[in-house]
């Protein structure tokens, strides 16, 4: 999803308590800052989708952590909204009760998980155990050696 457009990117945004923002994703600093500002300015009662230039953003807030996904107009926003939650659930399962710090300190693992779930702007796997299988195997290998 996020549709197959090149222009679409997936961000994983982390905002900590003093509102200073770090974005993990592609290095388009200005755009990211904009996107993050856009999402932070939304209120709770407003809807979880917002237009930003030519991209529609779907975001979901977990305490101070925002996860933002850019999609095209034709996408089904609600399914993406739930996809974000599925992603968080996968993280939760892997880190057993995930925290923001887990994500920050295990950036590479989070990326590996994301690579299993989303490719070329499409949802490729949502089955939690299958998403985590390669990563578990890798960890086992590392432990063995």
């Amino acid at each position: 999803m996020i549709s197959s457009h090149d222009s679409l990117r997936l961000f994983l945004a982390a905002a900590d308590n003093d509102d200073k923002v770090r974005v993990d994703g592609e290095p388009r600093a200005a755009l990211e800052a904009d996107v993050v500002r856009c999402c932070l300015s939304r209120k709770k009662e407003q809807c979880s989708f917002v237009d930003h230039r030519d991209v529609r953003l779907v975001y979901r807030q977990y305490a101070a952590l925002y996860i933002v996904v850019g999609v095209t107009d034709t996408e089904n926003e609600l399914s993406i909204y739930e996809l974000i939650h599925n992603f968080v659930e996968v993280l939760d399962k892997y880190f057993s009760r995930v925290s923001e710090l887990d994500i920050m300190f295990n950036l590479e693992r989070v990326h590996v998980i994301l690579d299993e779930m989303i490719q070329n702007g499409h949802v490729v796997e949502t089955n939690k155990s299958r998403v985590l299988a390669p990563l578990h195997a890798l960890t086992k290998m590392a432990d063995a050696s």
């Binding site: 197959s4 900590d16 200073k20 770090r22 974005v23 994703g25 592609e26 290095p27 388009r28 407003q46 809807c47 989708f49 917002v50 237009d51 230039r53 030519d54 977990y62 305490a63 952590l65 089904n76 926003e77 609600l78 399914s79 909204y81 739930e82 939650h85 599925n86 968080v88 659930e89 939760d92 009760r97 925290s99 923001e100 710090l101 300190f105 950036l107 590479e108 990326h111 590996v112 690579d115 299993e116 490719q119 070329n120 499409h122 949802v123 490729v124 796997e125 949502t126 089955n127 939690k128 155990s129 299958r130 299988a133 390669p134 195997a137 890798l138 960890t139 290998m141 590392a142 050696s145």
Partner: protein, 1151 residues
């Protein structure tokens, strides 16, 4: 929201504070990454962050290049580099090390290496080539995890040219016992399909196998490929509908393993994907749609659980139900569903409901009526995105009766909008609406005011649009506005009034504060005043001149606007006062640094003194004949030939010069001194390019194709000079074009729209006066918004009779394209070749496999007869249209909803006789030539359109037949054809004279840019004596092969040409082995199917040549190598080799 989500949400905050996580704290204290992250968290300013990161990068750089760094450390360094890059700092030094890590690391280290590569590099990065070997090695590894990693990175990014190197390995993996490997292989193939579809052309049957895989994961992966392929060509996959339906049925029925569930909904994203595929397949196809009704009903029923994800599935179902051939009870359920969404208190659902409503509203405007009060509430919703979606919805239901109110609402939103992107989008839409209904005058009452979209309304709306849009507007809006003004409508008197009103309102505007008006608007104002201010009797030219002068004097006015103002003054400066003002102004600007401005000032000065000349150059009320622009600039021929005779080199376009320059650089071997005289003398005789091309680049731009061995150094030596000359030559050309255009500007371009008759204009300024009761106001607003719909909804939706809702005519403008879908009948023509494709795809060689597996259906061969009818011929078949052919390709009128049953299509029975008799209408000179089948394009209320294309020696002629099938006369038939890839010129039109006669239109087609298939989009509009103008859109598709002709050249000529061409493609094809010499047999097949010329065959090599019409050659070199046929194509035309290779592949497959 479900319990689980709630729990997660409430649990998270406690987890997210720094101290509560001992594990992370431990990690951070030991690792360098931890230090980095903590460092960044503690920083307070951007500047400090920069300093820290640069320090960090320096340390990483030092360590990565040290030979003692272990792979484990390297991994750690890479993660830090990833971190820095994600913060927006460049760490390009680490890219090569990432590749190294992927190559040498093991396990997680290797994975991080691959990960860093995929994050750092983009798909065209040259370093990616270095990865190919690693990938190759890992694909052959016995370690499954390594294979997995390699496949993952391949499906993310891989250099296009290197696909053949790993394709066999990836294909092999499709049979791997482990599901995860099979799944990843399918995803890798999907990537290949995306970046180079013809490379995986031959393994389509393997996709089918993947679709029938016993593992649901592999099947899911293959759906991505199918969704993509079906989007491109739905016709080819209709036979799979039953399979998709049965998969969906099993998924919905909970047959998947439990771990595919998400919140106890079985594989929701898979369901969504399947429903999307089904809606593409069922679009405009009743038979296919019928297969899926049951499962859609089932999905609707199952998705009753109260969770977001089920709503997402429902939304997809609703969209599908409204896309495919309508079925009333499903529509009812879907409508109810939308109702629930829209009325939901949950804002996300409301949004989705509005979006669904926007989608379905064109098919069923009644739905808008049901929810009108909700829509009104949403219009005033505090959340902007809800508001925008509502406006989008209203935009789609605009008609003559409600356009004023809707535009008013949109303008209201515009006034508040701060986002540039939204503004541009909305401004475009308002302008489109305003231009669409400028003079249709149907009045209605709203709070005692009569609203009518009339002249004043139009001008005022456009004024608001212009002043609100700022300088961010798309330039085509002012252009089309001016065009509309100058073309006028059918009544001269109305046009005069419109222009007069525009002039008056602009004079008022200019008299006021002009500081805030955007430049675009000022330019429009200047033009209108210059052109039409004489229409106003009380307005003296002197006043206008004074206003324009004031505009010129303002500092904020851009120089472009100034030149518009000067032009306007040039048109107006008459009388003594005028001349003196003109002189004064022109003196100020005649020494301007801006050349355009200076030129305008010159014109003004001269023309103001010579009134006779002025009257000739700028005739007032110029007759509406468009001036002919001599785009070949033939009037300069004399000049050019003189220059050539004097020793100048022929003109070359800048890109060619650039190319030669780079060639020359490589070849510069000789000393500088010698070359100048040689090049000068040979340039004058060299290369007679078409003399109509402006050749200003002079002798100094040495012609290095001819002289590459000796003249190379010339170009080198004069590198600097040449550039200047080249540019000047280019400049001069441009200026002369500009002059031509400038003369042409006042006269209108040809009319593109047929407007309805202008009825009297009722002028009242549309203002909303508040009434005491807000509720009542809402009601009234609702009634005005939905006026047009309510009065018609019971009558018709598709324009059967009476007042029809206007259709969106212009396709180009953003969102509206999809809104046109009601009438838009896309109809890809079935050709011999494509039919054969269908046959191929429908009937894979290993159909035994598919029939074994439970999910596939037995329908695979049902399309066989259709394919066979055309399987044998190339292009010399008769127009024998079998009944199935016609029915298959003439789509039922879409969006007809419930009415379809009541109104059986009367044309359907006529189709067959028509197809036969149409061929008799072919012009005599075309009748003997080979041509494609006559295929119906679209069927309208009164007209049937069909078309075919005829192959002539030197051109392709498209023949469009328009048959009047009704009993009433049809007037003003207009046919507009357009294509990005094709140049279309009308050869002849023979309009139908009487009822039930056939009009034949001939167009000659030439290829602008090669593509595998080229498509034409067309619009037909016509008028019946009683009723509004009708328009419909259609499309027509031709394969590139239709444009290919043999090119007869000798082997020597071939050799020279080969070296001169720059675009090439190489690929391996399969040889045909049927007894004869394989190479000769293969070449013969290609020669016959693609019309190629075999130049020579020597041993295991053969050379062939062909040309695209209009002499764009393509050369082919074939060599038998290890049982395969290595093909190398070269052409001066980009993309042509790629397209041809595709057709070669096709031709051999079909054989």
């Amino acid at each position: 929201m479900s319990d689980v989500v709630e729990k997660t949400l409430t649990a998270l905050p406690s987890l997210l504070s720094l101290d509560s996580q001992p594990g992370a704290a431990k990690l951070s204290s030991t690792s360098k990454l931890g230090n980095l992250i903590r460092g960044i968290t503690e920083l307070t300013s951007k500047h400090e962050e920069e300093k820290l990161i640069h320090r960090e990068l320096a340390s990483i750089k030092e360590q990565v290049s040290s030979p003692n760094t272990s792979m484990r450390q390297m991994k750690e360094l890479m993660v830090r580099a990833i971190y820095c890059e994600s913060l927006g700092y460049e760490a390009s030094f680490s890219y090569i090390h990432a590749i190294k890590l992927a190559q040498q690391g093991t396990g997680l280290e290797k994975r991080v290496g691959y990960l860093a590569v995929s994050l750092f590099l983009n798909e065209n990065h040259e370093l990616l080539l270095l990865l190919v070997n690693t990938v190759l090695k890992d694909l052959q590894s016995t370690n499954l995890i390594e294979v997995c990693m390699a496949l993952t990175v391949v499906s993310q990014m891989f250099p296009k040219d290197m696909i053949p190197a790993i394709l066999p390995l990836v294909e092999e993996k499709l049979n791997h016992p482990k599901e995860i490997i099979r799944r990843k292989a399918v995803l890798a193939l999907y990537k290949f399909y995306l970046i180079a579809p013809n490379q995986v052309q031959h393994i389509h049957n393997k996709f089918r196998k993947a679709l029938c895989d016993k593992d649901p994961g592999v099947m899911t992966a293959s759906l991505h490929i199918y969704l993509q392929m079906i989007q491109e060509n739905a016709e080819g996959y209709k036979d799979l509908t039953a399979s998709f339906v049965s998969i969906l049925k099993q998924v919905v029925g909970g047959k998947l393993p439990i771990d595919f569930n998400y919140h106890s909904v079985p594989a929701p994203w898979l369901q969504i994907q399947l429903i999307r595929i089904l809606s593409l397949l069922g679009k405009n196809d009743q038979r296919t749609s019928e297969i899926m009704y049951e499962v859609l009903d089932e999905s609707l029923r199952r998705a009753e659980m109260n969770h977001n994800i089920t709503y997402a599935i429902l939304y997809e179902c609703v969209k599908c139900i409204y896309t495919i051939h309508p079925k009333s009870d499903l529509l009812e359920k879907a409508a109810k569903c939308i109702g629930n969404f829209v009325l939901s208190p949950k804002i996300n659902l409301k949004y989705l409901g509005l979006k669904a409503l926007t989608y379905v509203i064109q098919q069923d405007p009644k739905l808008a009526l049901q929810h009108q009060m909700t829509i009104i509430e949403c219009l005033d919703h505090p959340d902007l995105i809800i508001k925008r979606e509502t406006l989008e919805l209203l935009f789609r239901i605009t008609n003559t009766q409600n356009v004023v109110v809707i535009v008013e609402k949109m303008l209201e939103f515009l006034r508040m909008s701060t986002d540039d992107y939204t503004t541009i989008d909305l401004v475009g839409k308002v302008a489109e609406l305003a231009e669409k209904y400028p003079s249709d005058c149907v009045c209605f009452s709203y709070k005692n005011y009569t609203y009518a979209p009339d002249n004043e309304w139009f001008i005022e709306t456009m004024n608001t649009v212009f002043s609100l849009s700022g300088d961010t507007m798309q330039p085509d809006i002012p252009n089309s506005f001016l065009k509309l003004l100058s073309e006028g409508f059918e009544s001269v008197e109305e046009d005069r009034k419109l222009r007069l009103f525009a002039v008056d309102s602009y004079v008022t505007l200019l008299k006021g504060e002009t500081g805030k008006l955007p430049q675009f608007f000022l330019q429009v104002i200047s033009w209108v005043l210059g052109e039409y201010s004489h229409l106003s009797e009380e307005l003296k030219p002197a006043t206008v001149l004074e206003l324009l002068q004031k505009l010129l004097d303002r500092k904020q006015t851009s120089s472009e606007t100034k030149s518009w103002a000067l032009m306007a003054m040039t048109k107006l400066c008459e009388g003594r006062a005028g001349v003196s003002v003109a002189q004064q102004v022109s003196e100020t600007y005649i020494s301007s640094m801006d050349t355009v401005l200076r030129q305008r000032a010159q014109e003004l000065q001269h023309l103001s003194q010579d009134s006779e000349l002025r009257a000739r150059v700028l005739p007032r009320d110029a007759d509406l004949e468009p001036l002919e622009v001599d785009s070949s600039l033939s009037f300069l021929d004399g000049f050019v030939s003189e220059a050539l005779a004097a020793g100048a080199a022929p003109y070359k376009p800048p890109h060619q010069r650039q190319e030669e320059l780079s060639q020359a650089k490589v070849l510069s071997l000789e000393p500088y001194g010698l070359s100048l005289p040689i090049s000068m003398s040979s340039c004058s005789i060299a290369d007679r390019q078409s003399p109509t091309l402006l050749s200003m680049s002079s002798g100094l731009s040495g012609d290095s194709t001819d002289l590459s061995h000796k003249g190379g150094s010339t170009t080198l030596k004069f590198e600097g000079v040449k550039r200047v000359w080249g540019k000047e030559g280019y400049l001069a050309q441009k200026e002369s074009v500009e002059e031509a255009v400038q003369v042409e500007a006042p006269s209108p371009l040809r009319s593109t729209s047929q407007q309805a008759e202008v009825v009297g204009s009722h002028s009242q300024t549309p203002t909303l006066t508040p009434t005491p009761e807000p509720e009542q106001e809402k009601q009234q607003l609702a009634s005005s918004l939905f006026f047009g719909i309510s009065s018609q909804s019971s009558v018709c939706l598709m324009g059967k009779s009476g007042p029809t809702p206007q259709r969106f005519r212009r396709k180009a403008k953003g969102q509206s394209s999809s809104s046109g879908a009601t009438e838009q009948m896309s109809n890809s023509v079935v050709f011999t070749s494509t039919t054969v494709d269908n046959l191929l795809c429908n009937n894979p060689p290993d159909s035994t496999i598919t029939s074994e597996v439970d999910v596939s259906s037995s329908k695979h061969t049902s399309e066989l007869p259709q394919g066979l009818t055309a399987a044998n011929g190339t292009c010399d078949i008769e127009a024998e249209l079998t009944d199935s052919d016609l029915k298959g390709s003439s789509p039922p009128l879409s969006g007809d909803n419930g009415l379809e049953n009541a109104d059986p299509d009367p044309h359907e029975n006529l189709d067959k006789p028509q197809g036969v008799c149409l061929s008799s209408h072919l012009p005599a000179e075309l009748s003997g030539l080979c041509r494609s089948e006559i295929t119906p394009l679209c069927t309208l209320q009164n007209l049937d359109l069909s078309a075919c294309h005829v192959h002539r020696e030197d051109t392709i002629v498209l023949v469009v037949f328009i048959t009047n099938s009704s009993d009433s006369a049809v007037q003003h038939i207009r046919l507009d054809l357009d294509s990005e890839l094709l140049e279309v010129s009308c050869v002849s039109e023979s309009p139908a004279k009487d009822v039930r006669s056939v009009a034949v239109y001939l167009y000659s087609l030439t290829v602008r840019r090669p593509a595998v298939h080229v498509e034409l989009a067309g619009t037909v509009s016509y008028q019946v004596p009683v009723g509004t103008p009708q328009t419909a859109q259609f499309s027509y598709k031709l394969p590139l092969t239709a444009f290919i002709r043999p090119l007869t050249v000798s082997t020597e000529e071939y050799g020279t040409m080969w070296l001169a061409f720059s675009h090439d493609t190489k690929q391996n094809l399969t040889l045909i082995n049927d007894g004869q010499e394989p190479l000769v047999a293969t070449l013969n097949v290609l020669r016959k199917k693609l019309q190629l010329h075999v130049v020579e065959v020597i041993g295991v090599e053969g050379i062939l040549a062909c040309k695209l019409l209009q002499d764009q050659p393509c050369l082919m070199h074939f060599r038998v190598h290890e049982g395969a046929l290595a093909v190398w194509l070269r052409s001066p035309v980009p993309d042509l080799p790629d397209c041809l290779i595709y057709h070669c592949q096709r031709a051999l497959q079909e054989h």
